[in-house]
């Protein structure tokens, strides 16, 4: 019965289009073959249409894309068979004014895949030249595809966990560098003037449209590497030319089509992975139903196999301006490091014999390090108001006075993010509390890291926690110790100890917590913010001071508004062991209670990539000693 409907559809279509009747039999043959092969039920066809279950799992599958232009059939977003048949019919349409608008060009991924299933060459279907697609895909010169991972950035909530995008690597005759390569990038479409609070809520709960755009790689190297100081890691994939062709063609047809953006799950990493999973045996999405963390995706990619081989064939590191400064400075000998310090304190040293008597190679190394240093600390938009702009200019001018030449650079690179631990943590503890007695606890942190376990791809000495729950059990009394909505400690790691390198650290913490360690049923809501100063004494020891305030529910006459000062020291004993000392003084501004000290010593020993041991002593009215074992998942 269905076949007769198809024939009728084909004849009707022929009547309304300009297709010759001779082609009707060709169309019918293809529709028949597609039906026999059950192509509309094939996973690849459903992936090409981006069919998925609704976010809450209820209801029928439908396409994640809600642009009408993505479908040929009126019911294409919910009916894969109708979309398949209408797409095949559309492939036979004659070219009108613009070949780029033809279905073979607009739905390039579907065309490439269906051609491989149905062998159009034997059907009489005339292939159309697609100028825009050919130009974009560099006329078939794309030889490989890379996933680019940008490390996390605490300057914007959407970038806390890093970002991923695709880069199409060309081998064209004039393409000798990577900067001109095309990238495909997924992001939310945020209207101008959006404030931070709506931005966060709409990002979390599907309030924004989203989509793929394409742009040259150098826009990203500048934005990430120079502006946001994020390292880029490139994972080049081991794909055949036919697979590269299919991914390119599919990326082309989803560019500028609209999805709904969800920050936690169906985000940049998820949608980018979907484009690659169009290839049959590529499975790179982490098995997690709640969120998709870009670094977890990278870890999955690094261990994935494809056609019996590793999916990744090459890993490259593109250090940020800050990382380049660190690499260059640490590669200098002690004399040159001292001269860099002298010039950073007094730019006139450039004319002093301490600098002018150096050999040209040493001068190049010193000046190149200083260029990175001033690029890192200056605000170019302030023009002459920022004195560092003038110093940068003087260093650059001095560099032009030297003969051309690249100074010697170190090959040392950071450890890649795929070797890091998994993003989530569960911790089991034994506790002795001076006021409550002995107990146990479990702590679950969905993401991401703290100062003790900041790892590859994270920011050393910083902290980023979301959705952490800590439950305690004392004397058969199960209690919520705290629920952290968000906790961020943003610090800059001053490796060179040059002036102004450390930046301005800040803290933000919001959630529910027990009023003190002496109380089991005193849960309060609290938000705290601090700013401070960092002192990096050496690569193993960072000291920071913070001043800030907090607002909380008034409980037991502790008041609602507090002034806080905090001293912090992070010590790296060795590669596996870190210790943190913290001392906070809290003054109660709207209470007669006197201020109190809250002190803590915490230590972590890493057993392996999936496990650690932690010990802590804390005093917040009561004293508490804790021993924990943690697992990463």
């Amino acid at each position: 019965m269905h076949r007769y409907k198809l024939y009728f559809s084909a004849i009707f279509w022929a009547l309304v289009s300009q297709v010759s009747y001779a082609q009707i039999s060709d169309v019918n043959l293809l529709l028949d073959k597609a039906s026999q092969l059950k192509l509309s039920e094939q996973p690849t066809w459903l992936k090409l249409l981006h069919y998925e279950k609704p976010p809450l799992g209820f209801g029928a599958s439908r396409s994640a894309i809600h642009s009408d232009s993505f479908f040929n059939a009126p019911t294409g977003s919910t009916n894969p068979r109708a979309e398949l048949e209408t797409t095949i019919l559309a492939f036979f349409e004659p070219v009108t004014t613009d070949a780029n608008k033809h279905a073979q060009c607009e739905f390039r991924g579907r065309f490439v895949w269906l051609e491989r299933q149905l062998n159009f060459a034997t059907s009489g279907l005339v292939p159309i030249e697609c100028p825009n697609f050919n130009e974009w895909s560099l006329n078939g010169t794309t030889e490989s595809i890379s996933i680019i991972f940008a490390t996390g950035y605490l300057g914007n909530p959407a970038s806390y966990y890093g970002h991923t995008l695709l880069k199409m690597n060309s081998n064209g005759a004039n393409k000798t560098t990577k900067l001109e390569d095309v990238t495909v990038n997924y992001g939310a479409i945020v209207p101008p003037g959006e404030g931070p609070i709506p931005y966060i809520f709409k990002g979390l709960f599907g309030g924004y449209d989203a989509g793929f755009t394409h742009i040259q790689y150098y826009f990203h190297t500048h934005n990430y590497g120079e502006n946001e100081l994020r390292d880029l890691w490139e994972y080049e994939l081991n794909l055949s030319s036919g697979e590269v062709e299919l991914v390119l063609a599919h990326a082309w047809e989803v560019i500028r089509k609209k999805y709904t953006y969800y920050f936690t799950k169906r985000n940049c990493a998820y949608r980018m992975a979907e484009i690659l999973e169009i290839i049959d045996d590529v499975k790179i999405l982490p098995n997690n139903s709640v969120w998709t963390i870009p670094q977890a995706l990278i870890q999955q990619v690094a261990k994935a196999e494809h056609q019996g081989q590793s999916l990744v064939k090459n890993i490259k590191y593109h250090p940020s301006r800050q990382s380049r400064l660190h690499l260059k400075f640490t590669a200098l000998n002690q004399t040159n490091q001292a001269i860099v310090h002298q010039i950073a304190k007094d730019i006139n040293i450039l004319q002093h014999t301490a600098f002018t008597s150096l050999k040209d190679d040493d001068k190049q190394q010193v000046l190149d390090t200083l260029l990175d240093y001033y690029q890192f600390i200056r605000d170019e938009s302030l023009l002459e108001e920022d004195r560092n702009n003038s110093k940068y200019r003087q260093v650059l001018a001095a560099r032009y006075q030297l003969p051309p030449g690249i100074s010697t650079e170190t090959n040392t690179i950071k450890k890649p993010p795929h070797l890091g631990r998994k993003p989530s943590l569960v911790s089991f503890s034994n506790i002795h509390n001076s006021a409550i007695g002995d107990g146990i606890s479990v702590r679950i942190r969905p993401a991401y890291y703290d100062a003790l376990d900041a790892d590859y791809g994270h920011i050393k000495n910083a902290s980023l926690t979301m959705g952490e729950a800590h439950l305690t059990l004392f004397n058969d009394d199960l209690t919520l110790r705290n629920l952290t909505f968000i906790k961020i400690e943003s610090v800059s790691n001053a490796v060179t100890r040059l002036p102004e390198e450390s930046g301005r650290p800040w803290r933000l913490e919001a959630g529910l917590e027990q009023l003190s360690l002496s109380c089991q049923n005193c849960l309060i809501a609290k938000i705290q913010g601090d700013i401070g100063q960092t002192f990096v004494l050496n690569n193993k020891l960072m000291v920071a001071g913070f001043l800030g305030g907090s607002i909380q529910e008034n409980n037991q006459a502790f008041g609602s508004i507090h002034l806080n000062t905090r001293l912090l020291a992070n010590i790296e004993i060795n590669a596996k062991t870190r210790v943190q000392f913290s001392s906070q003084y809290r003054e109660h501004l709207d209470s007669s209670r006197s201020g109190i000290f809250i002190n803590a010593i915490r230590a972590r020993y890493q057993i392996n990539n999936d496990m650690d041991l932690r010990f802590s002593y804390e005093k917040n009215i009561a004293e508490e000693i804790t021993a924990s074992v943690s697992f990463y998942w």
């Binding site: 940008a150 950035y153 300057g155 914007n156 959407a158 970038s159 970002h163 995008l165 004039n174 000798t176 560098t177 990577k178 900067l179 001109e180 990038n185 992001g187 939310a188 479409i189 945020v190 101008p192 003037g193 959006e194 931070p196 931005y199 989203a210 989509g211 755009t213 742009i215 040259q216 150098y218 826009f219 990203h220 500048h222 934005n223 990430y224 120079e226 502006n227 946001e228 985000n267 940049c268 190049q364 190149d368 260029l371 690029q375 170019e380 938009s381 023009l383 002459e384 702009n389 003038s390 200019r393 650059l396 001018a397 560099r399 032009y400 006075q401 030297l402 051309p404 030449g405 690249i406």
Partner: protein, 159 residues
Amino acid sequence: MKKIKIIAASAIISFGVTAEEKQVGTGPNPFTDCGIGAALFPNTHWAAVTSNVIWDIGTTAVTSATASPETCSAKNVQAAAFIYESYNNLAEETAKGSGEHLASLLNILETSENNRENIISKVRSGMADFVSSPDYVKLDQVQKASAYYNLVYQAGSNS
């Protein structure tokens, strides 16, 4: 020093003039003649400068290039956009005599391999004068990028 002042002055002055009124020798410049200066300064807000947000400056720039086919050819506008985006890298690599950004720019401009060394040398000479002026720090990013474009254009024309 005189040469530098001419370059800097042309970079500053040319923003308010048409192609016909520009100083002799500066040549057509996409920053001033194609509206690319405005295209490169979208009114982005705090969130739009980050990577997880759609940010399509390149397409905007290329689209704006349809007004004047010669100066605003895709090649020239792409070069101008690249210079604007990578100016500091280019200025530093030009001082060093080579680098990835420099090579990319010459690729975009489809400069032959034979001419590259000569062009880099001329641009380096011009840039040495340009950055030696204390007034350099008074120029914004578009002005500096525009001056660099002029140097490359002149070096290419005379090679």
